[in-house]
Symmetry: C2
Subunit: 289 residues, 2 copies
Amino acid sequence: MIFFDKVAILGTGLLGASFAFALKEKKLAGKISAWSRSPSTREKCKARGDIFDAVCETPWEAVKDADLVLICTPTSTIARLLAQVSKSLKKGALVSDVGSVKGSVCRDCSKIMENTGASFIGSHPMAGSEKIGIDYADSSLFTGRPCFVVAEKNENKLGQKVLGELWKNLGMKVFFANPDMHDSIVAHVSHLPHLLAVVLCAQSSEFSGGDLRDYSGPGFADTTRVASGSPEMWDSICADNKIQILSALKDFSADLQKLISALENSDTEYVGQILRKAKNYRDALGNAK
Amino acid sequence: MIFFDKVAILGTGLLGASFAFALKEKKLAGKISAWSRSPSTREKCKARGDIFDAVCETPWEAVKDADLVLICTPTSTIARLLAQVSKSLKKGALVSDVGSVKGSVCRDCSKIMENTGASFIGSHPMAGSEKIGIDYADSSLFTGRPCFVVAEKNENKLGQKVLGELWKNLGMKVFFANPDMHDSIVAHVSHLPHLLAVVLCAQSSEFSGGDLRDYSGPGFADTTRVASGSPEMWDSICADNKIQILSALKDFSADLQKLISALENSDTEYVGQILRKAKNYRDALGNAK
């Protein structure tokens, strides 16, 4: 079923390109136009004429006549890019993004959309990878992963519904949330684990008793894997979701202090309890990949 | 090549049973005798007569005439078990263990071995799994994993060499270390990541905005996987390696505070630097499984 006659994708990195691959594979879009800031990425898109019907030099050319525009650039650039293309949008067009932080993005983008006849609803498909770029694009990237559709509760309900159905058709588990709740959830489920892995790796790199990696097993490898993520992307996430991230980090730090005190005082009851609580929680998650 | 005519394995959980499977598969041992505290585990061993030549009701029966005794029980029980079997050991027998903490174990066991004619050298094959018990035993468990052979530098050099060769023949990368250095290394590479995952899971279980697991992706799953480990085993590790673990936790906590301060002060230079340092470190580890 074709959801949109024309879809424009701004930014064809891992997510944007995978989205295009998936749309064409599942026949959910008629034509796909694309724009990328990078000339070499544009060349790679042109080489995939089976996926991209048009590859444009500017974002405003790409969005022309598009029914859906998906902005797949770093969070800090989304609103600026939307402002650049806002006058070129088709009346009634739906615009979304794939940024991992939503508070400022949804606020800024909704404001830009005022009086344009088009509308913005945020998306956050949680389907990244530490591998970035179109070279790793994969139409199955979204399968089985969670996706947030993010807007204030009563904002453009039809737009929310259509977007939710689209992501479901790509195999995603869709959740609806307002921007603040979304940002708190991802701070805890994604940004906090990431920064813990980062601090762990940075600390390990300074260990004085030899290269710890020589002695590491699958536990260390798994626990730290996300630290391979793009520093530029995470710089931006840290800035954009600063308040929620700080709140999660401080909660974690306080709980870590409690564990340190418990160990110092040989409080085996506390230690046993937290070990069991964590195991019960993690066991029920299974080996989700 | 048969290394030992008779090997006794005390404790046939995941590690002990996998060791037996691997020895027989690689023809490194003549006969294998086994003891387990649990009657049902002993029954499972008896059902594998191709692996276990004798399954004994008591540990002292199992070690009789054995050239190598491998103690595969929780760290806190190793010295006690060794004391129970010390009078039944063959003269010249080599005793080792698979405990993940070595300071107290090596000290206590070396003392017990005085004047017995047998000797103790610690081992720590880093090849556990969150799956425990003989049902998950796997002869390839050790392949490609690190293994410590642990003793004071000049202690029974021949014993250290033989043990190192044995683990190498099971496919392990062997490292020699004294007990304190070993305990510091594993505190950083294994115990610290484990406890961070535990605190993260315990904190996540109390999140007020819904079940975070619904929204979790492979990052959260990987970062927390080790928290499924056995609480009993980790209770024991926390007690046995308390000093080194506290040192690693406090270092981590201090580094976490630095990151919190940097985020609060929008110190993008610090944040960018730690993200890049962590990425460089983790990238070089690869996808070791």
